[in-house]
């Protein structure tokens, strides 16, 4: 079972002075937030005093997630991965969204390399008011030539501040690159059965996190990790069980990821309690198919592994369409499943509405809002949309739970100024809210309330067949 902390387990390692430096009213309140992962230990400034050294150490140990947090890169662009406490997001929101790294290699034309780095720097997709971005660059050594690799790494460094993964199985190649990039704390890829001692030394010397790679062999993966941990006293690992994709082996990959995560969290096997690396880019060297087939496959592999516990992914395609589903799925799966997303209540304009445009009412559940908005837009309708505060619930549940009532529809119409926007003095409420129409009509006095369709997909038909005829006497 995953460890379940109580505030007292944490409180005993706090200064217990209730000084309030952290912004909480008491150390106990801070403890409660710590176990909910809502605040970080650094907020307790007194704990950094030398006299609390032992407590701090013990506290960090108690708070350590079954999957360790590992940081790649340096501030302000450092990313932290791992830190997972649960298998399933309905138990507790997943922390630290999967990092998405795009590859370049040392035999690319410089122009191509810079183009790819800039693509990563500039990539931005805005969705529901949030900006979705890529996280960093994986530099692969194709040449097996230290000079070439270092040149590629310095070119990348010249064009980005984002964190890097340096990829080669040759320690000599990596060492030279680390002399230029080591202080940027890149992730080193990878220690395997042959090179693990040299790689461990590099990781220790440059204080960079290290990928431990044992494709398809979980016992070797565990053995390597434990050996490096024991002999080199290292603890910042990322595990690579291999990303197999051809001939349906993606299923084996998903199984390995799942079983590793299950062992770390439910089985309390701390030897595998580290972030997991997936390499959807392996599609490009393993999978038979044309480029578009590879892009499709790479995207599917990325989304699948993200669903099943990958903490960092290396991707190759820099086309927007295969990245889009991955980055949107990441945004979705890392939200808090207990909090329904909502939009701000009030009056919204869709298209270019005027005083003759329909006035529609809906709930402030984000999905409801976006679906309604989308249906109205898609049908090229100009409309006013009154979004009522239903505490982020859908129309159907809000009506049942009395969170969408005639009173709050009326109040929102008044306070948002919606009533002055139209001359026709009619309002259209959702089909699921039909039973509020009488009461709303009483409140609105000389206004007319129309009961619209249950599904906004039918809004166009409703407006043309019913509303327009009733209001303007138009015939089809």
């Amino acid at each position: 079972m995953p460890k379940i902390l109580r505030p007292l387990d944490v409180y005993k390692y706090l200064p217990q002075t209730n000084c309030g430096e952290c912004g909480e009213s008491s150390c106990m309140a801070f403890a409660a937030k710590l176990i909910e992962r809502q605040v970080s230990v650094e907020k307790c400034t007194p704990l950094s005093e030398p006299k609390y050294g032992k407590k701090l150490k013990a506290l960090l140990e108690v708070l350590r997630s079954p999957v360790k947090e590992v940081t790649i890169g340096i501030p302000p662009n450092a990313i932290t991965i791992g830190g997972k406490d649960v298998m399933y997001r309905h138990e507790l929101t997943w922390r630290h969204p999967t990092a998405l790294m795009i590859d370049v290699h040392d035999e690319m034309e410089e122009e191509e390399l810079i183009k790819r780095v800039k693509f990563v720097n500039d990539f931005s997709f805005i969705r529901i008011g949030r900006e979705l971005k890529l996280d960093g660059i994986a530099v692969r050594c194709v040449s097996d030539d230290s000079k070439k690799f270092s040149t590629a790494v310095s070119t990348v460094l010249k064009h980005t501040q984002l964190p890097l993964v340096l990829c080669s199985y040759n320690p000599t190649v990596l060492e030279e690159a680390l002399t230029i990039a080591g202080d940027k704390k890149p992730l080193i890829y990878a220690a395997n059965k042959q090179n693990w001692k040299e790689m461990a030394e590099l990781s220790s010397k440059y204080k960079c996190p290290l990928v431990v790679s044992a494709p398809g062999d979980l016992s070797l993966l565990k053995s390597l990790t434990v050996s490096i941990k024991k002999y080199y006293n290292l603890d910042d690992f990322v595990l690579d069980p291999g990303t197999f994709v051809d001939g349906g082996t993606i299923l084996d990959t998903i199984s390995m990821f799942s079983v590793l995560r299950y062992a770390a969290i439910e089985g309390e096997d701390s030897d595998v309690g580290y972030p997991l690396l997936g390499v959807p880019a392996a599609v490009w060297s393993l999978f038979d198919g044309n480029d578009d087939e590879k892009r499709l496959m790479e995207s599917i592999v990325a989304s699948s592994l993200m669903s099943r516990y990958a903490d960092i992914l290396i991707l190759h395609s820099i086309d927007v369409w295969p990245i889009l589903p991955v980055i949107v799925w990441r945004d979705c799966v890392y939200t808090d499943p207990r909090v329904p997303p909502s939009v701000k209540p009030g009056l919204y304009e869709i298209g270019k509405p005027n005083e003759m445009s329909p006035l529609l009412v809906t709930a402030n559940f984000a999905l409801t809002y976006y679906i309604v908005k989308d249906d109205v837009e898609r049908n090229k309708i100009d409309a006013w949309l009154v979004v009522v505060d239903t505490e982020g619930t859908s129309v159907q549940s809000a009506v049942a739970g009395k969170k969408l009532t005639a009173e709050n529809i009326y109040e929102t119409m008044v306070s948002s100024g919606a009533m002055e926007k139209v001359q026709h003095k009619t309002v259209i409420i959702p089909g699921y809210a039909a039973r509020l129409s009488g009461e709303l009509e009483d409140l609105l006095k000389d206004w007319r309330v129309f009961v619209g369709p249950r599904d906004s997909a039918d809004i166009k038909q409703f407006l043309e067949k019913i509303w327009k005829q009733e209001v303007f006497g138009e015939k089809q």
């Binding site: 998903i254 989304s303 099943r308 949107v328």
Partner: protein, 437 residues
């Protein structure tokens, strides 16, 4: 001269303060300082090869005062930068004495699941009382979908393509795949099976909606019979979503196709459930129960249907699929919770789950023409395939899909379950690093 000296002193003090603030700690032991002012001096590189060590000396400046304190400080890398000392390559730590790879076997965790998902048969052959040439089994799993390594022989998820009994409004990329059959459900069904290799088809009798064409049950029945004549596979019979009319439709068709083990979709909480279930029980048909993204609603619905007499192995649960980007995470978590609860012993949830991945086309990222987003002929199907596969990983077993390419991607994924796959040791995964692509 004096001004310059003062300025320099101030600079040193600022630097020193910075240095101290960046240094982890400075400990002074057995020291008493009894002076109003100090002279502070920093002497760099106190030890050869250790540029991070500085000698710090404090000396009282009061005339006649004595007592100079000297100590070493170790600057942090940040502090070194403040002082402008170039960083050096750190010395390699002394290699450990014994370095042999330990051999520690990874133990596959024991999974706690005790129960099994019911196995539902879709379609019946002549000898079983139906007329289908092809039948399928769905469900029967005893682990969540991602722990497949423990399953030996396993039913794979199944894929139905949508067919409509009247010309529907479809997204551009979907429409193109069916342009020649949009008016003819029989030809449409044949195309889904023969050209696009769907496992089965889902015939949506949308025209029966009283608000659309109000097609009578007898006519809807003829459409279904014609499709059954044309293909060998079982079908899903989809109503219009009108809770009263659908019962009439189900009754008419369930009777006419007695023993075929078709799937009737959907039974919802706003229906008269005993009335809806009765013909399905009587004529040996399966049902899909549609709940709205809520595990408690799913339980209530399932319990009512089972209480109305439908055997568990004739029921499939549809917890509602939100499109990728439009609520899919709720579907993902509800499906995951339903499947885990079922495997842990919640009887009323021990049934296969269905997923209308077609809902993916509600997302504008799937259908909208936007040049920067890339071709929607690929983007759309990928959106639908991703929606399906994400739900598959959460436990969905029966997929309603629309775009042939999306279905092909998801189906290939599922088919691998029953395939003899290459041993991983024979696959050169490592090559991804040095391969040129």
């Amino acid at each position: 001269m004096k001004e310059e000296k003062k300025e320099e002193n101030e600079k040193i003090v600022i630097d020193l303060l910075k240095l101290l603030s960046e240094t982890d700690n400075v400990e002074l032991e057995d020291v008493t300082i009894d002076a109003e002012e100090f002279a502070i001096e920093i002497v760099p590189a106190a030890a050869p090869g250790r540029p991070e060590l500085f000698k710090l000396s404090l000396e009282p400046v009061m005339p006649g005062a004595t007592g100079k304190i000297e100590f070493l400080v170790e600057a942090s890398p940040q502090g070194l930068r403040v002082l402008g000392v170039p960083p050096v390559t750190p010395a390699a730590p002394a290699p450990p004495k014994v370095v042999e790879l330990l051999s520690i076997p990874f133990k596959y965790p024991q999974l706690p699941y005790t129960s099994k998902i019911a196995e539902v048969q879709l379609g019946a052959t002549k000898s079983e009382g139906g007329s289908r040439g092809v039948t399928y089994k769905l469900g029967g799993y005893s682990t969540p979908p991602m722990f497949l390594f423990q399953e030996t022989s396993i039913n794979r998820p199944l894929f139905a393509l949508d067919v409509f009994d009247m010309r529907p409004t479809l997204a551009g990329p979907v429409k193109r795949s069916y342009a020649d059959v949009l008016e003819d459900p029989v030809a449409w069904a044949k195309k889904c099976i023969e050209t696009y290799k769907a496992d089965l088809v889902s015939v949506h009798l949308v025209s029966t909606d009283p608000g659309i064409k109000d097609t009578p049950p007898s006519e809807a029945r003829r459409t279904v019979e014609d499709v059954l004549q044309a293909i060998d596979e079982p079908i899903i019979v989809g109503g219009s979503g009108n809770p009263e009319k659908d019962i009439d439709i189900f009754r008419e068709i369930a009777k006419a196709t007695e023993g075929e083990k078709l799937v009737f979709a959907s039974i919802t909480l706003d229906m008269d459930i005993p009335k809806a279930v009765e013909p399905l029980v009587k004529h040996g048909q399966n049902a899909i129960a549609l709940a709205f993204m809520d595990i408690n609603q799913a339980k209530e619905l399932s319990r009512k249907i089972l209480e109305a007499g439908l055997p568990k192995n004739q029921l499939i649960l549809d917890p509602t699929t939100g499109a990728l980007g439009y609520g899919i995470e709720y579907s993902f978590s509800v499906m995951e919770r339903i499947r885990l609860a079922a495997l842990m012993g919640e009887e009323i949830l021990q049934v296969p789950m269905s997923c209308a991945a077609t809902n993916a086309w509600a997302a504008r990222e799937a259908w909208m023409k936007v040049e920067e987003w890339g071709p929607r002929e690929l983007r759309g199907p990928l959106w639908e395939a991703t929606t399906a596969i994400v739900c598959m990983l959460a436990g969905a077993d029966l997929f309603m899909m629309m775009h042939p390419l999306a279905m092909k991607i998801a189906k290939t994924f599922a088919e691998a379950l029953q395939k003899v796959r290459k041993p991983l040791s024979e696959i050169p995964y490592e090559k991804w690093v040095e391969a040129k692509y």
